[in-house]
């Protein structure tokens, strides 16, 4: 290689080394307290379990599910495609990049809302954008999606649509159809008592 290229290569190595050696700066932006308070008052951060389920089934590429439960619970069961982030390591190098993905809706969930609310608040404070909470967490998801729902005789058409969506979603997640789901709740079928007619006696005599 020519000498001028060698000098440029050495210069680039020195500059790159400088990046590694320079002391790290904490350039995390904090949200203005007034904006933070108004964000807390807003309810738009909540997504229902049905909304989240719909987006999972649709394979929505903009959805990023973040499971805040322990690694053991995450390993045992979680929502499809979810990533496990422990609140203790929320702003580690890898998690920071996950949270700052501009094209993704980050949806937090734990067993209930408590942990997700805490993490949402911390992330909002540090200006993380497009963050949501799955209302009710895994408990609510299990109650609404996995547990069978039976329509009552007075259900409105909107409720019937919702129930049929949940039945389809249950089939999607568990492979169990509506029939099996209903059989889980229904009692054992009542025994039908057959009442036989008494044999008619032929009229004696006759004309």
């Amino acid at each position: 290689m020519e000498r001028k290229y060698t000098i440029l290569a050495v210069l680039l190595i020195v500059l790159a080394l400088g990046l590694v050696i320079l002391p790290k700066k904490n350039d995390r932006k904090e949200t203005d307290p007034k904006i933070l308070l108004s964000s807390i008052a807003e309810r738009s951060r909540y997504l229902t379990t049905d909304q989240v389920t719909h987006r999972i089934i649709e394979n929505d590429p903009t959805l990023l599910l973040i499971d805040l439960r322990s690694a053991g619970q995450f390993k045992a069961f979680s929502l499809p495609g979810a990533v496990n982030i422990l609140p203790d390591s929320l702003f580690s190098q890898t998690n920071n990049e996950l949270l700052n993905q501009s094209g993704k809706d980050k949806v937090f969930f734990a067993n209930s809302d408590l942990e997700a609310e805490k993490v949402w608040l911390i992330c909002t404070r540090f200006s993380v954008k497009r963050i949501y909470i799955m209302k009710g967490g895994m408990n609510e998801w299990f109650n609404t999606i996995i547990k069978p729902t039976v329509a009552s005789a007075t259900s409105s058409s909107a409720e019937l649509d919702l129930i049929s969506f949940r039945n389809a979603a249950r089939q999607f997640f568990t492979g169990t159809g509506q029939a099996t789901a209903q059989s889980a709740t229904s009692k054992s079928p009542e025994k039908v008592q057959v009442v036989r007619k008494a044999a008619t006696r032929s009229a004696g005599g006759g004309c």
């Binding site: 290569a9 500059l15 790159a16 590694v20 320079l22 190098q93 990049e97 996950l98 501009s102 094209g103």
Partner: protein, 197 residues
Amino acid sequence: MIGPIISSGIVSQAWDNIFALILGMGFGFALESSGFSSSRKIIGTFFGYDFVVVKVFFTAAIVASVGLLYLSYFGLLDFSLLYIQPTFLTSAIVGGIIMGIGFAMGGFCPGTSLAACAVGRIDGMVFFGGMFIGVFLFSESFPIFENMYYSGSQGAKMINSAFGISPELFTFFLVLAAVGMFFGAAWVQKKVKKVEY
């Protein structure tokens, strides 16, 4: 002033296309002046007689990486406003294979084929025509490929996070690898018989 100037609102978004045109002309000029409108020069990478393609693209990557990190460090660039293309693993692998085969067969990549068209090269025009037909067919049959296209979604993933290291350390290793490759390519080029074109 802090960049990127359009995302941070310093310059109106209406200027997007004007900047795209100016940058595109600059990119096209750089491609042509580096000799990238010649398919024989590009294909030299695969035969070992000309490594200018690898050198130019690696140089662009390392200069941009080092430059962006320094701009961010000195507060001149807000990293969170930069758009990062999301990774879809399956389509990236399949698309990479198809693009690689097309690159080796045609001697162009999409950008260089346009540069070749602009200077009136017939092989560049044929390549561009084929690429246009391919894009059209893919668009029309997209529903068939949709599931595959969106599978393996990784989000806007950075390669340094996949290795679990900082962007600065990854850039340092990348620069070392690039410089090593420059010397390696120069050594290979000396060993391979020169091709006149």
